[in-house]
Each structure stands twice: as C-alpha cells, then as structure tokens.
C-alpha cells in the first residue's frame, strides 16, 4: 500500500510492501514491526528501534520516541481518487539519491522493463549499502549516473516511464 504522509512542513511518499520492506521517498528501508499492544508498535528501521503509540485517530496523533507527532496520512485509494479528479498522471518517475554517497552499482540499462520494487541502483552512504528500488512498474528511459561515481544528495539517478 502506498501512502503520502505529511508531518509538519514535509510530505513524504512511502510504500509498505507485502514483504515488510518499505520505500521511503523511493529509498528502500528494511523495516520490521512488532505489536506491543492494541495501539502500540516497536518499529525497527535501519537498525534503530522506534516506539510508536497511537494517541488519537482523527486527527492522527502519534507518540514517537517521546515526541508527539501530528500527521496526515493519505493512502493509495485516496491518492488515486485525488489524481483522477485532478490532472492526468504524467507517468514519469524520477529516482533521486536520498543522501550523498557512492553509487556502487547500477542494476538496469535504458530500455529495461522493471517491476515495481525491482532493485535499480545500490548506493553506499553512511557505511551502509542501500538498494534503491523502483517505485513503479515501467520502463527505464534514462540512467543519469554511472556506477563508481560519487553522487550528491538529491542527484537524479534514474528516470522511469510508468507503464
């Protein structure tokens, strides 16, 4: 299920895959969830455990590691409904480097057809290798960075056409 989450001034795209992995702004994050109670979870993300409590549903108020968070969550269905009502989707998706790092490998070439969640590149950052996966099923229309190069945070890596 895909979600668009707004916290404070920031809007973050997330996708929670059936296998538990999560795409956070197109970056794959290993994520495990353990229920602590009816409205409480222990979520391990990137080696750090976060304790999360649901304080209230409407508006969504969470307790995350001791801080109260107010969030607006829009799910796939609502997003689809919203985009159907608005302008048509462009079908173009860009994969950007979520942080500065070394591009260890590029797993696709221009013209490749990829499934949603397919690994596109491996980015080494903060001494960890992060596999960045495809946010959509589609065709690779451009590879914007070469393996073995250093990339800045936010650098364009891959362009996809949703298909």
């Amino acid at each position: 299920m895909r979600y668009e989450v707004q916290v404070g001034e920031r809007t973050v795209q997330l996708e929670v895959a059936p296998d538990g992995s999560t795409l956070v702004d197109d970056r794959v994050t290993a994520l495990s969830v353990r229920a602590l109670g009816p409205d409480a979870w222990l979520v391990a993300m990137g080696g750090v455990s976060h304790e999360v409590h649901l304080l209230a549903r409407d508006p969504l108020r969470l307790w995350v590691d001791g801080t109260e968070v107010l969030a607006t969550v829009t799910d796939e269905r609502a997003l689809a409904a919203r985009s159907a009502g608005g302008s048509a989707r462009s079908g173009r998706h860009e994969l950007h480097a979520p942080m500065p790092g070394l591009l260890k490998a590029v797993h696709v070439r221009e013209g490749d057809e990829v499934e949603r969640g397919a690994p596109l590149v491996t980015l080494e950052a903060m001494k960890m290798e992060n596999e960045l996966r495809s946010p959509v099923a589609g065709r690779v229309t451009r590879v914007a960075a070469a393996a073995g190069t250093k990339v800045d945070g936010g650098a364009l890596l891959i362009v996809l056409a949703q298909g």
Binding site: M1, Y3, V5, Q6, V7, G8, E9, R10, V12, L14, V16, D19, G20, T22, V24, D25, T29, L31, S32, V33, R34, A35, G37, P38, D39, A40, W41, V43, A44, M45, H50, V52, H53, L54, L55, A56, R57, L60, R61, L62, W63, V64, D65, G66, T67, E68, V69, L70, A71, V73, D75
Partner: protein, 494 residues
Amino acid sequence: MGLRKVLVANRGEIAVRVIRTCRELGIATVAVYSEADEGAPHVRLADEAYPIGPAAPAESYLRSDRLIAVAERTACDSVHPGYGFLSENADFAEAVAAAGLTFVGPPASVQRALGEKTSARRLAKAAGVPIAEGTLEPVSDEAAGREIARRIGFPLLLKPAGGGGGKGMRIVRSADELASAWRGATGEATTAFGAPALLIERYLAGARHVEMQLIADEHGSVVWLGERDCSIQRRHQKLVEETPGPSVDDALRSRLGDAAVKLARAAGYVNAGTCEFLVAPDGGFVFLEVNTRLQVEHPVTELVTGLDLVALQFRVAAGESLPFTQESVRRNGAAIECRITAEDAFAGFVPAGGRLGLVRLPAGAGIRVDGGIESGMTVPTEYDPLLAKVVAWGPTRAEALGRMRRALRETVIAGVMTTLPFHQHVLSDPEFVAGRYDTSYVDARWAARRADLDGTALTAAAMAAVVASRTRPPRSAAPDGRAWVRIAREEALR
C-alpha cells in the same frame, strides 16, 4: 491525641496524595465520589468510599452538608479539603468545626481575613508588607471603578475580590478596554465566588510570580520553607513551578520569607499556606494574595526540604508543635514540577476530556509522579483538567531539568490532548533553561506550533505510515478474534 480517621473532601490526584500520607501515618481514610468518579483511583485507594451525588461539583464535591454527613456517619475525627472545591471556603471550615470535626487547614477566621482579597491587602499593608497600588475595599460600581482606574493608570488588573485561582482576572491596557473587561470580570466573579465585587490594582509588566510556602502551628511558631517560581502560566493559572526561583538570591528569599511570616502572624495563621508575590526585574516585590490551603505545586518544596507537608498539616491540626525551627530548615538541590493537564496546548489550552488509552507515567531516579489517572478511565469534563504532576529533583537546577526532560520523554498519555508537548518545548527552550522568563512566557515564547521536526520528520512519517497500515478505519474494524493473525504476520516479518 493524633488524628485517626479523615474524610478526604476532594478527588483526583490531590485526594490520592492525601490518602498516601494518611496510610503512611496510620490514619484511616474515607473517600467521597461523584457519579463521574465511580471506580476512580482515589476511591479504590481509600479505606472506605461513599457516593455524594451527581457529577456537577455543586451537587457533589461542593455539598458541604453531604460531606459532613459522611464524615459523621463514618466516625471520622477530621476533614482534609485538598485544594480547590471547599478548601478556601470559611463557611465550610466553620461547619466542619461546628460538627466537632478537626479541619485540616487554617481555621475559618484566617480564611475570612485572607480569602477576601481587599481584606488581605489591608492586612498586608498594616503589617508593613508592600502591596501594588490599588483599592483596599471591594468595588462593585463600574462608574466608581472607572474613576479609580483613571487615578491608578493603565495597564491595570481587575480581579474578583472574593477569591483566587486566576478566575475572572482581566488585564486592562487602556480606558477603552475597561467596560468590556469590567463586564467579563464581574460576570465570572459572580459565577465563581457569588459576588460581583472587584479589586483594581496596578499591573506589573515583566514580573515573576514567586510564592513563599509557610507552615504555622497553634503555639506561635511560623516558619517559611522557601519560594517557588510559578511564572509559567496560561489564563493566570500555573503550568510549571520550580524551586529555588532562578531569580531569587538569598537576600531576596529572606525578604520574601520575612514578609510572608509577618503577614501570617498578623492573620493569626495556623497550618500550611502560601503567600504569593509579584517580583519585578529589579528585585522589588508586592504582595498578591495568600492561598489558605495546600498548593498544587507543594511537591517541589517537599523534594528540596525533605518534609511531608500533608503530614505536617495533620500534626499541626492535631495541636502538635512544629518539629523544627526556621533555623533548622534545610533546602537541598532544586526541584521542578510540570502539570500534565488534559488540554490542547496548540489551541489556546482548551480543556479536552475523553477516554484515556495507554497511560505510562515516568519513574526512575529523582522523579516523583502525583497522579490520579490510569489507562481506560474517562477524564470527566466537570472538573479541573489536571491529570498528573511530574516532579523532578536534582542536586542542581541543571540536573533537575535534565531529569525532567528525560521523564517527559518517557511519558505516554493516549486518548486525550495533553500539555506534554508544551512542557517539552519549555524544557528545551534556551530562555527557560537559562532561567530567563516571567509571567508573559506563554504568550511570548509558545508560538503554538508543533515541535521542529526537521531532523525526525522522515522517521515520524514512516511511523505514521506503519500505523496507518496496521490500523483500520473504525467503521471497517475487523473483529478482535483476527488480531492474532495480524500479530503472527508481524512476528514473521521480524
């Protein structure tokens, strides 16, 4: 001849607080409860508990006759009023005494002399305690009030003469504002204290609210136990209190203590009480009012003095002498209290009742929690929104603040809006940490916005998505029987 059985004429955290000390002292306790408080923590903690009427305070906790009837029926020898409700009602103190019961608090004569604000101001003036320029008699007539206001000048304060707690208080900044402020203040004064009479006094901008804790026995001993800075307020009601006051040095402390003792002696004070002052940036101070009862924030004084004020109240009420003198009182370290109330700090601190989900209160070194809540209980909207008081002690102010920050992070109260985010803001605000704040703090420094989440927005958003993926909208909620499937799946994902 100590007291053996007490009726605790209150509810919530203060009833719990009083019952705890009674149990330590071997005094049997009788709790009372309204229909809204059936099964509340104070009810279960007491040795006996009796219903006294519907939720509305006027039909339960303010029913002097019912309270005294329960005390007599259960063979109590004393009544502890807590704070709020009837704690500063001289007629109640008198009725308790007339029923042959010991009132654990100042006698009716003291309550009368100090409860009416202009009377307290006259007493203070006569005792040589500085007071703010203003009226020495209650004013009910608006035209007369207008003339007095012109003489004093603006800004000024209108306060109900009949009582305290910040109710009905208005700051008036110009003559144009007077008419509407007068209407508002007299209206609230009539509702809260039964009389429209007001006190008019000069308003001191940039002042701190500093109060002095007192305890006095029947044998002429009056001792001050140190100050509390209570400048962090909303609606003239306190949110954070600490001792020592960051702006109070030894010399000012002695002057405040001496002034409080002088006034207490002039009033013939017995039992615990608090003398409130406004302290100007230059160290000058004026008398504000005396609270003739235990204060909500008394624990900070207990933590630095090592004294149990409730235990002292019972000893003094039983006619015993204070077991210490002014010279033998020791104050050690620093303490701070945060009042966790059911209020939306992001929407002007409007009270927010509701059913509590998970409640997890902090613990650990240097932390004390006085609370009257637990998971699953409903926070009644009829009463004060105070849920719990988190109090931290440390050898220094910096260490006490560090413990408080840690304790606030441990605290979870789900189901209602609380002042927790506000307290976290205060405890991490460099101005507060540096001790630079006054009564304008909430207006000046609380911008009513969410904490800056730049560093943690991503994590927070991810957690929100996780929660969204794990919770269903209430209307399509699956039966609980399926919960194990979800948990098993989550286990498998680890």
